[in-house]
Amino acid sequence: MDVNYRQSVAMLRTRSQWIALGVLLAFLAVAGRVFPSEIVDVMNMMFILIVAAHGLNILTGYCGQISVGHAAFKGTGAYTAAMLIVRLGWNHWVALPVAALAAGGAGVAFGLPAFRVGGFYLAMSTLAAQFILPALFLFAMPGIVGGISGITVPRPAIGDFSFRIPENQYYLFMPMCVVMTIVARNIARSRTGRAFVAVRDNEPAATIMGINPFGYKLRAFFIGCLFAGVAGWMRVVYDGCVRPDIYPLMGSIWMLGIIIIGGMGTTIGPIFGVILVRALNEMVLMLSPFIGGFFRPEIAIQMGAGLGLIVFAVVVIVFLVFEPRGLAHLWQVFNERMRHWPFKYEPG
């Protein structure tokens, strides 16, 4: 193959990849108008989660810094956006970068202990973030932050195209998700992304190679939480309000589960993870009244909530035990198999 440099660093190297991308984008472009409203709504939620999952994937998957506070950082972005829009009357589109920066700043603030400790202790500091930030949303200055009932935020609009109904929100979230995915991919394969991987794999060795682990960890925190802030802004548009209970510890753990299931340290992973987890969740919600029918009524009421937790936990456990590299690895194996087909595939 005559490959020049531009070709070999390109994200899409073959014609079939371009065709696949074209088909996917065409599908995404029409999907918002073709599917019924409920499905579009679920897809919107997936787009938001994918953006947030990309952030956590950069932080945890590439840089190896476990964060159990991602939902809180998302909430920081959401609350910043809501306060700017409602209390100060800012434009939605101006509030977006500010919200992202605020979440990134919060991430750096809670990542600062990385200066002294690593790995596991840092996870504890993000756990502190997960408890302190939502407590702030709930208790601090109820007149401004909104207290328990939160803030109601008007939806943005471009001309007459208002993002009030799911079908229209789709055309805001889908392009944002696509752009953020490309950004995430490009961060991962840049010098910064490679430094993240070096810090993750062997910190002392990375130091010897001239990488400042502390600086790169903070950078990972900043970028990861920036994504969370963008996702938080999207969530404000999605819900039309902010409330303290939208960003619980459970949310953070869902995010971690999603990147584990999808495959950490790959850009495709979070996308797979979100799709699988959300699809399973919707299925559980649909099936739980049916399963609940076999039990006593007082048990049946709680079936949905409880079963959702159990299914999620079991899926995470199964992936951790049997395929810690996640769906992304299965996808890679599948691709290799197809490439060698009809010859036998020997895993290398």
Partner: protein
């Protein structure tokens, strides 16, 4: 005090297996709910052994079935696994017990008596006595018994102790079982104080600052850290309001991580390339 004992369970597991157990609070919750069920059905003399037997079973199943395949995997896998276990227990509890607070039977005689100018209820005394008993028993176990020594060796180095003929996997099992048993015993007392409900598991997360302040590897540290965090939280709630009080353990945690990351009694680890 409760913080201290949850912290104790976490430290026990961490010491030997280097896995941080996020599900310790959920074990406590399961303990409260299961013991509630047994105490309501059977006489107390049968219920307590049953509860402890359940703890044995759960501890063993968790280690054998779920944590064992992860030996040798990176830290995050084990962390996430305990979180997944936590939510599995949460889901089971939600289905079978719902989210309401259920009154917990008063299974020991309750009376209060004056002690140095304050009224102390016998429940508190019992709790403290049992906690102290567990602590002393553990100290003896670690110092004197062969298994205890094996556990301390395992804590130092898995490979060396394996090559000296210690069954490291058995040590791991035992650690998880001990942690589960401690959680379940404490559940018997804890249930009486606050009632039985699903959100008890939250306490597990609130005990984490206690673990870090005490030092990850120190059993004494866990108890002292637990007391410290508990007392400081009560004081903060009283003087600064519920808002600061509810997040105070985590503020302490942040300060602890920045100022003294290895806790009062922990040892820093030396990393080589």
């Amino acid at each position: 005090m409760i913080y201290g004992l949850i912290a104790l369970g976490i430290v026990l597991i961490f010491k030997a297996t280097k896995v941080f157990n996020f599900a310790q609070g959920h074990l406590l919750m399961m303990g409260v709910l299961l013991s509630l069920m047994f105490i309501n059905r059977f006489h107390i003399g049968i219920a307590i052994p049953l509860v402890i037997a359940c703890a044995f079973g759960i501890g063993w199943v968790l280690e054998r079935g779920i944590m064992r395949p992860l030996i040798g995997q990176p830290l995050i896998s084990a962390l996430l696994m305990t979180l997944a276990v936590a939510y599995l227990l949460d889901g089971v509890a939600t289905i079978f017990w719902g989210t309401k607070i259920v009154p917990y039977p008063q299974w020991y005689p309750e009376q209060s008596f004056p002690f140095m100018a304050i009224e102390v209820s016998s429940g508190v005394v019992w709790t403290i006595l049992v906690a102290a008993g567990i602590f002393v028993a553990l100290a003896f176990f670690y110092r004197r018994s062969l298994m205890g020594k094996a556990m301390r060796a395992t804590a130092d180095s898995h490979q060396v102790s394996q090559s000296l003929g210690i069954k490291v996997t058995r040590v791991f099992s035992l650690c998880w079982i001990m942690a589960a048993v401690i959680a379940f015993i404490m559940a018997l007392f804890f249930g009486v104080h606050v009632g039985a409900f699903r959100y008890l598991s939250e306490w597990g997360f609130r005990a984490i600052p206690a673990v870090l302040i005490g030092g990850m590897e120190s059993i004494l540290g866990a108890l002292i850290g637990g007391l410290l965090v508990g007392v400081l939280e009560v004081i903060a709630t009283a003087y600064l309001g519920a808002f600061i009080g509810s997040m105070f353990p985590f503020i302490i945690l942040l300060i602890a991580i920045i100022v003294k990351p290895h806790g009062l009694f922990g040892q820093p680890e030396i990393v080589r390339v």
